[in-house]
């Protein structure tokens, strides 16, 4: 700790900070632009000027930039002397010489850091009387709007995009007051983290293009704390709504999970909530037309009800724990199945037992960023778990940070740190079927078939610990690779092994765990992290139910009613098997929010709430349970699936808390869920929590053309929130912070006021409860057996699926901006294989795999491991068969 003096009063601050961090953490208001808590200091904007004094006797003092001045013991400053105030106001006035002052038409207006800092600086009257410079804007693709005239040249955008997120196609151009931030030419921003520019940019240069399509003033949005549903990481998000439409997603800070950032799938995937494919009324198959048609709720419920013990329930890894549990209650535990095919099911349960077995730590996403060496097996992280990729980049940076500190450069002094470190990075090894975006940042990479990846993993584990099983007949180059990886991992203090189910290989997952165990046995603080495909994959797996294949078997020979929860089975298994399953049921009931292929086959469809209209809990890849709270009242007949199940059961749960109590009693592993957020009857200062900000403007006017009476506030039985601007506005637990408004802080930067210290945990602790813990001090055990070398099968090829951040995930792919970025179906072959098969780019081939066929254009890819054929995961037009799998490829000849 260091003692600093602000206006002669002593304050204790953490060592190694700069004055700006220290002052903000102490609660003082110091304006800033170029500094960002995750991007640190560069001293460009000069907005954070304060006055520093040499000692008690110094009365003259000297203006310094708070963000560039270490808060060392005995530092004396004042924030509010006339000279530094005048300078700070002058900085705003300079920035305003070219700023267009177009707040009334600017999407940032009302939540703009530039507006806030202008007010904070006290600058009001502008003396500048000359012309302003103007820029041409660029079309940057479907996510980001560009309006360069508003730029204040703080350089945050490029520092985030290039330095933090390893992006390449956004840069500063030109110089003096013509500096331009954009791409070398119009075009889609390539980074999967581009959407963060919206929040990183303190002005209206980079704004959310999807929000623009249905824009509303930010103070007229109502918001609630939520969790992203588009991959397994559980990033915290803040969705916002007006007039029944979900308008946008913003980051919600969780220091243990996503911190300040989201990926573009998570930010732009939300349009499925507003989509034309939504089910809003109960549907039942009309006897005359055979089509699904709206029916009254009671009728639908009657049609959907099954006699006791006559229904089979298929749950979903993308539905909440509550909804899965409710279905389980409805059909009975032994008739409840995970809607995940056998292989995925098996992988999930072995991943959970490996995580639980220890001895390796199970890291949070924050802790991923603290690893000093990383080995990834089988996962293309930017496409399967984007924020984990971003954290691996940070881990690589932080791993070498001590070198800068040794040279006397504090970690917050960003530019010199990066200058000193150049392209030095912490160790990263990647083993994947095809090239990934992260390859260029890896020390070691190898592209190989799943079994070969597993063999490499086993070889690394064996190189670290002779007790770990070794693969047989390893090629010399692979053995050397393994030895190199093992050596680098052993040299680390906090090595991290990342793997997951993307290759469909249990051997890979076991190999990853063996490596982690071997590192623990060597006395290192090793961590093991698994990526999982969906937002509640782990939660569902923790319920311990049979697989989709088991369900198919159970339904064999006929079943009365099949209830399918938020699951499009046609994405999980091949058409024929799903057809057979649906055909085996007399009555097929689907609970979902979107009318997908499975729902279209149902006899009854009950409209389910999305995350935006419902409450529930999800468990992320590390086993962290988190609550999402509805941001808008459900419209028409929509309600949470768990409510539908309650009604079908004839014993509806009064609210979420009642259901959670039962869940905790039935499945004690979930007892903690009740602690994820305050219960619905919690009151703060006697009040509920408002979803709408204090400046919500339309309250009495919005409906005035219909009625001059204020509409009834919709009831929210499940949370402490209300759909109103009235309620408690003091300190609340992080799980129920709906936005970051604070006096004088209307932009996302107001977050500072909600954290224990800037960049630290949320006040009162970050939200979420861990349901999985690695066994403490467990002995390192080695499991599994290395597979034999990847065999060849004559003319058959091993078909693998290649994940795409945009397109592979079901719900986000329904969102216009994301769909625009999704790939067209393709069949990728390695160059040598293409030559051997006489295929060239653009040829049309017929793929036959499992019992499915597809006709696809050929894409020749140098980066795909030889012998493999890749197809994009989860894209329409690609058969939903279990991959990897053996298949044949025949070239189509014209005519």
């Amino acid at each position: 700790m260091a003692t600093i003096y602000i206006d002669n009063a002593p304050y204790e601050v953490k060592d190694g900070q700069n004055l700006l961090q220290a002052c903000l953490s102490l609660g003082f208001n110091v304006p800033y632009f170029c500094w960002h808590p995750a991007l640190q200091s560069v001293g460009a904007c000069r907005q954070c000027a304060v006055k520093q004094y040499r000692d008690e006797k110094d009365t003259a003092g000297k203006i310094v930039m708070a963000c560039m001045t270490p808060a060392t013991d005995g530092t004396r400053i004042t924030i509010d002397d006339a000279e530094s105030r005048a300078f700070r106001a002058q900085v705003i006035e300079w920035l305003m010489t070219n700023h267009p002052h177009d707040c009334p038409v600017c999407d940032e207006g009302g939540e703009c850091h530039l507006q806030d800092m202008t007010i904070m600086s006290g600058h009001t009257y502008r003396e500048y009387r000359f012309t302003k410079r103007t820029y041409n804007n660029q079309n940057l693709g479907p996510f980001i709007n560009h309006e360069m005239n508003r730029c204040i040249q703080c350089y945050r955008c490029v520092r985030f995009y290039r330095d933090y997120a390893n992006g390449g196609d956004l840069a500063p151009f030109a110089s003096h007051n013509h500096v331009f931030f954009g791409r070398h030419e119009d075009g889609v921003l390539e980074s999967e983290f581009s959407g963060n520019l919206v929040e990183v940019c303190p002005t209206g240069v980079f704004t959310d293009k999807s929000f623009k399509q249905h824009f509303t003033r930010p103070w007229d949005l109502q918001s609630a704390p939520s969790v992203c549903v588009h991959c397994g990481l559980g990033c915290n998000v803040t969705p916002s709504e007006r007039y029944g439409a979900l308008r946008r997603i913003r980051n919600r800070y969780n220091g243990e999970v996503n911190g300040y950032f989201l990926c573009d799938r998570g930010r732009y995937g939300y349009e499925f909530v507003n989509g034309a494919g939504r089910v809003r009324q109960p549907l039942a198959r009309c006897k005359d037309t055979g089509e699904l048609a709206p029916v009254p709720k009671d009728e639908a419920l009657a049609l959907a009800r099954a006699p006791q013990g006559a229904a089979i329930g298929i749950g979903s890894p993308r539905a909440s724990l509550e909804s899965n549990f409710a279905l389980r209650q409805l059909v009975g535990a032994d008739r409840f199945f995970m809607g995940v095919p056998k292989r995925g099911h098996q992988l999930l349960s072995s991943m959970i037992s490996l995580l639980r077995g220890g001895p390796a730590r199970v890291p949070s996403l924050r802790e991923v960023g603290e690893a000093d060496a990383v080995f990834v097996l089988g996962e293309d992280l930017t496409n399967t778990a984007p924020l984990m990729a971003l954290q691996v980049y940070q881990a690589q940076y932080r791993a070498v940070l001590p070198e800068a500190e040794k040279a006397g450069i504090p970690a917050w002094n960003d530019a010199p740190v990066r200058e000193l470190l150049q392209d030095k990075r912490g160790f990263l090894a990647l083993a994947t079927p095809a090239e990934t975006k992260m390859d260029v940042f890896a020390a070691t990479k190898c592209h190989a078939a799943p079994d070969e990846i597993a063999r490499l993993g086993f070889a690394v584990a064996h190189a670290l610990n002779a007790a770990a099983p070794a693969p047989e007949g390893l090629a010399a180059d692979v053995a050397a690779l393994a030895a190199g990886i093992a050596e680098a991992l052993r040299a680390a203090k906090r090595p991290l092994i990342i793997s997951g189910p993307s290759c469909g290989s249990e051997a890979i997952v076991l190999a990853a765990a063996n490596v982690a165990s071997a590192l623990c046995a060597a006395g290192l603080d090793a961590a093991l992290s698994f990526v999982v495909p969906e937002c509640n994959s782990i939660g569902l797996a923790l319920m311990d139910a049979g697989s989709l294949d088991d369900a198919m078997q159970a339904a064999e020979g006929g079943v009365d009613t099949l209830i399918i929860l938020e699951n499009d089975l046609y994405r999980r298994a091949d058409r024929a098997s799903v057809d057979r399953l649906l055909g085996a049921a007399k009555n097929v009931v689907v609970l979902d929010h979107t009318l997908h292929a499975t729902a279209q086959k149902a006899a009854v469809v009950l409209p389910a709430a999305t995350f935006a209209e419902g409450d529930g809990s999800l468990v992320n890849n590390e086993g962290r349970a988190q609550r999402f709270i509805q941001v808008m009242p459900p419209q028409e007949a929509i309600q949470e699936s768990w409510r539908w199940c309650g009604e079908l059961l004839g014993k509806p749960w009064k609210n979420l808390d009642v259901l959670l109590a039962q869940l905790g009693a039935v499945l004690p592993g979930f007892a903690e869920l009740a602690k994820l957020a305050p219960p619905a009857d919690a009151r703060f200062g006697g009040q509920r929590l408002p979803r709408q900000p204090h400046r919500y403007s339309g309250r009495t006017a919005m409906q005035a053309h219909l009625s001059v009476h204020e509409p009834q506030i919709p009831n929210d039985p499940d949370s402490a929130f209300t759909f109103s601007m009235e309620g408690f506005r003091g300190a609340v637990p992080a799980a129920v912070v709906p936005s970051y408004y604070a006096p004088g802080w209307n932009s996302v930067q107001g977050l500072n006021k909600f954290q224990e210290e800037v960049g630290g945990p949320m006040r009162g602790g970050d939200p979420g409860v861990r349901l999985i813990a690695a066994a403490q001090g467990a002995r390192a055990e080695f499991r599994g057996a290395p597979p034999a070398a990847q065999a060849t099968r004559g003319a058959e090829r091993l078909i693998v699926s290649l994940p795409h951040v945009f397109g592979s995930e079901e719900l986000s792919a329904l969102s216009g901006p994301v769909a625009e970025r999704a790939p067209q179906p393709y069949l990728a072959v390695n160059e040598a294989d293409a030559a051997a098969m006489a295929l060239s780019q653009g040829d049309v081939v017929e793929l036959s795999v499992g019992n499915a066929q597809a006709v696809l254009p050929v894409e020749v890819r140098a980066s795909l491991a030889p012998g493999l054929v890749g197809v994009p995961a989860g894209i329409a037009g690609i058969p939903a068969v279990q991959l990897p799998g053996w298949g044949t490829i025949t070239k189509r000849t014209e005519g």
């Binding site: 001293g43 204040i152 003096h176 007051n177």
Partner: protein
């Protein structure tokens, strides 16, 4: 006549001094001596003893600067600053074009002293003749074994490259120069850390001006006392002094440090042309404060010029005569600085264009009395410590001093709503 160790070999016909001519005149003796038996520390000590101060503008003692280079890590770099984009400054060009081997020898000596493995000469983009001649000289030096491996038969290796600037004034600022050399944007860097600790590619580096390094061979051969004796003041050595403006004989001369302004202007430059008289002098490149007639007898060395409120800078003066409008002249300079601002920090990037437009308004008869207060404020707000680097404070030097010495001229422009000189 006083000694001229920097320029004595330079040929009057404008051709460069060849390697053999240079050696005939005693060239490369210093390098032979240093590499043949002196430890790097001894070379550094000799330079420290000489009191040599940097000729790039800031006047920092060269030996002291070198001593901050840590001994251990390699590679280390020496970077020669030959950017010379300061308005009114044309001194390094003479050395680069006229006697390239003098610089190469200086490079060898300084590189040896700091343990550099590689040296770069960073040249102003327009200095094409200098580029050609430096490259020819370097090739000749390599061919003789004076560069490359085992220089002069010693264990010491040094590679030397010429790099041409993309052409921005800011790339003369030593840390922006390093960025430019790395292929990055020419923005200055945060200091500390200084280049001695983390310079080119994050490695220990020294940036020295061309003229600074050209002093080294003499110092090494003839010693510190000789060097100190060259000067009339405690600052050792000679210095290239230049004069531009409406003098009879504009040019560049090597003179002892400590000569008076009067001697340079009247004796070397031949005094003012007929019909004009002197009103002001910018003593050391555009980013130094005006001096006036009353300063004619000020001795040109680092301390004395500073005492009268300006800086020796690059030692190349711009003389302003009474037929030149001071507002117009300052406007012209500010125009340069505003365009050359790198755009990194707010006061400079956005303040300079505003100043420029305000001066433009005054100069074209559209000034307002309140503009003077605005200009005064800006002189303060763009001063040292307020901006990220020294470009903006440099720009404020001529403006601030013009507002002091020629305030009446500014006011007259505004009162009369015209430029009295037009």
């Amino acid at each position: 006549m006083s000694e001229k160790p920097l320029t004595e070999r330079i040929r009057p016909d404008g051709a460069p001094v060849t390697l053999s001519e240079y050696e005939q005149a005693g060239g490369y003796q210093a390098a032979r001596k240093a590499l043949g038996g002196m430890a790097p520390k001894e070379v550094m000590q000799a330079v420290k003893d000489s009191g040599l101060r940097g000729r790039g503008g800031a006047g920092f003692p060269t030996g002291v600067k070198w001593s901050f280079v840590p001994e251990g890590p390699h590679p280390k770099y020496l970077v020669v600053n030959g950017d010379e984009m300061e308005p009114g400054t044309f001194k390094d060009r003479l050395l680069l074009e006229g006697d390239p081997h003098l610089l190469i020898e200086g490079v060898i000596l300084s590189s040896y002293a700091i343990g550099a493995d590689v040296a770069y000469i960073f040249l102003r983009g327009e200095y094409l003749l200098a580029e050609r001649r430096m490259k020819e000289a370097i090739a000749a030096a390599y061919a003789r074994g004076y560069l490359g491996k085992h220089i002069f038969g010693s264990d010491y290796n040094l590679e030397l490259y010429v790099h041409m600037s993309g052409g921005r004034y800011i790339c003369g600022e030593e840390t922006a120069l390093l960025n430019a050399l790395e292929g990055k944007r020419g923005n200055p860097r945060t200091k500390p850390p200084f280049p001695q600790i983390s310079g080119l590619w994050g490695k220990p580096s020294i940036v020295n001006n061309v003229e600074t390094l050209c002093n080294l061979p003499g110092i090494l051969v003839k010693g510190a006392d000789w060097f100190k004796g060259l000067s009339r003041t405690p600052n050792g050595g000679t210095k290239l002094f230049g004069v531009s403006g409406k003098v009879r004989n504009p040019g560049l001369w090597e003179l002892p440090l400590g000569v008076s302004v009067r001697e340079v202007i009247e004796e070397c430059a031949g005094g003012m042309r007929d019909g004009v008289s002197l009103r002001g002098i910018i003593p050391g490149g555009a980013s130094t404060d005006f001096l006036t007639e009353e300063h004619m007898d000020v001795a040109l060395d680092y301390e004395t010029v500073a005492q009268v409120g300006s800086r020796l800078g690059t030692g190349t003066m711009i003389v302003m005569d009474d037929k030149t409008c001071p507002v117009g002249m300052v406007r012209n300079l500010i125009q340069f600085f505003a365009v050359e601002s790198c755009g990194w920090c707010t006061p400079c990037r956005d303040g300079l264009p505003w100043i420029e437009k305000t001066l433009g308004a005054i100069d074209t008869g559209k000034g307002q009395m309140s503009d003077l207060a605005m200009l005064d404020e800006h002189v303060k707000w763009l001063g040292p410590g307020m901006t990220f680097c020294a470009l903006a404070p440099g720009a404020m030097a001529p403006l601030g001093s013009a507002l002091k010495y020629y305030r009446e001229d500014f006011e007259r422009h505004i009162r009369e709503q015209r430029c009295p000189w037009k």
